[in-house]
């Protein structure tokens, strides 16, 4: 079996974060989080750990909602979604995320799509995983240009949820909600604490024992390729083709 690709590494490490969840939701255009959720579900069932509802908005098959597109937000607002993924054009050191654009709002130099559901989801889902493959001073910035949703809130704000981790193509950070700061936890193969520092626009803490992000076991890698990839093919065909050479 060939070694894990970068995408398979990310699928694997995200799946570890979801292992005990009851309901994981994945937004649009997120093949890696989608694959991670399906992997976590299969592994949880495999070890007799019980059911996991995986809701992938992008996929009719994995979208269980019948109350319209508000049902995801309603479910999340009442605490029924354990984990959700958010990205960002920019993410800053306080875990503020910006999905709107670059420049001084509203006079943006570069406009991006918009905030989607982040301005509710980030507050109410207990475990929000920030996922952004591009790890550079351009994406991980000192201060976002626009706060689509803040990483931390004043104590009087109802906020059962928030950032749990930041996962990029180079490293994994945890987030300390009290201090509103990221902490580097693991670096992917080929990276060091210093290389991460160089590519990160914000200041962060460093765990005492930063190790290399673990690669998936052979069993897990086989499951990703044999069991998960064909599922991904049905609703992210271009991704499945690029990563696994599968064709619909």
């Amino acid at each position: 079996m060939t070694d894990a690709t970068r995408e398979e590494l990310l699928i694997s490490l995200l799946a570890d974060m979801l292992a005990e969840d009851k309901h994981v939701a994945v937004g649009a255009a997120s093949p890696i989080p989608g694959a991670a959720a399906l992997l976590a579900k299969a592994e949880k069932a495999g070890r007799g750990g019980g059911r996991m509802q995986v809701t992938i908005i992008h996929s009719r098959r994995h979208n269980p909602f019948t109350d319209g597109s508000r049902e995801l937000f309603d479910c999340a607002a009442r605490g029924m979604i354990d984990s959700f993924f958010l990205g960002g054009v920019q993410i800053d050191g306080q875990a503020n995320i910006n999905l709107v654009g670059v420049g001084e709002y509203p006079n943006l130099r570069k406009r991006f799509p918009g905030s989607f559901g982040s301005a509710l989801m980030y507050y109410v889902v207990p475990k929000v995983i920030l996922f952004r493959e591009e790890h550079s001073p351009r994406t991980l910035v000192k201060k976002v240009d626009f706060i689509s949703a803040p990483g931390a809130s004043e104590p009087e704000v109802h906020r059962p949820g928030g950032p749990h981790a930041l996962v990029t193509g180079r490293a994994v950070f945890g987030f300390d909600r009290e201090r509103a700061r990221f902490r580097l936890q693991t670096v992917h193969a080929g990276e060091t604490v210093d290389s991460i520092r160089e590519m990160t626009g914000f200041d962060f803490d460093v765990a005492d024992d930063v190790e290399e992000t673990p690669v998936p076991s052979g069993t897990r890698l086989a499951r990703i390729r044999d069991e998960i990839a064909p599922q991904i093919l049905t609703f992210y065909p271009e991704f499945a083709k690029r990563i696994w050479g599968l064709a619909a």
């Binding site: 649009a28 255009a29 009719r60 909602f65 019948t66 109350d67 319209g68 597109s69 508000r70 937000f73 309603d74 607002a77 999905l99 709107v100 654009g101 709002y105 509203p106 006079n107 943006l108 130099r109 570069k110 406009r111 991006f112 799509p113 918009g114 905030s115 989607f116 559901g117 982040s118 301005a119 509710l120 989801m121 980030y122 507050y123 109410v124 626009f146 706060i147 689509s148 949703a149 803040p150 809130s153 004043e154 009087e156 704000v157 109802h158 271009e238």
Partner: protein, 275 residues
Amino acid sequence: MRDVDMITVEEIAEAVPDGALLGVPADYSGVPMAVTRALVVRGARGLRLYCLPLTTMQGDMLIGAGCVEGVEAAAVTMGEYGLAPCFSRAFEAGGIAMQDSTCPALHAQLQAVERGTPFMPLRGLLGSDIAKNRPDWRVISNPFSNEEDPVVLLPARQLDVTVVHAPYADSVGNVFIGRNRELATLIHAAKQTFVTVEKIIDGDMFETESTAAGALPAFYVSGIAEAPKGAWPLGLTDQYDPDGEELRRYVAAARSPEGFAAYLADQGITSRPAA
């Protein structure tokens, strides 16, 4: 028993007045692209798009053709095909009155209309630049809490017109919306609703409870037009997939005003001069 009021796609475009606050469905709910092209042809002006909660090619094309004054949305995007070129260009040039929102707020402001209440509460929002840029929203202290507990109230936003595309209507004018129930809210919140459909089917969906479950009742609908492939090049659930090649072609062409104009010309979408 009522018959269906059949009208044409062009008549629907005429019935959406300049300046209207127009209800715009998401790409997964049934986007009326045939009517969108007809709006460009009729030279619509000053439309304000209320997106539930986002728009893709519909909004981008209307913006490119100069039909749009304002947009209220959680996102304007071509999704996996990239950024929305006309929207980005117009926004960056300051040519669009944008009200950035978030999905559940867009649902809630229509639910307030639907329920006949002046506002709806919503969690989240506080401390975001979305809320900071929405002077039309209000924050109150939750009167049921003994502790300080700020809650955002969102005002009802009644739409002038909603237009959607659906797989079919039945012979008495009920429209299949299936589990795209956000369409019910988008329609309840509008003063008038027009629907295009792939086809008219025989019978009445209310004859059995299982078919009634997916129906929007006819009395909400002011007019229905047959428009086969009416969502093209976007997809329609269970009917046809998005036409990826065409969407890529659009995104590439629309990167410049000239390319956008050439795309419209190529499609035979010739805007009439504004009256």
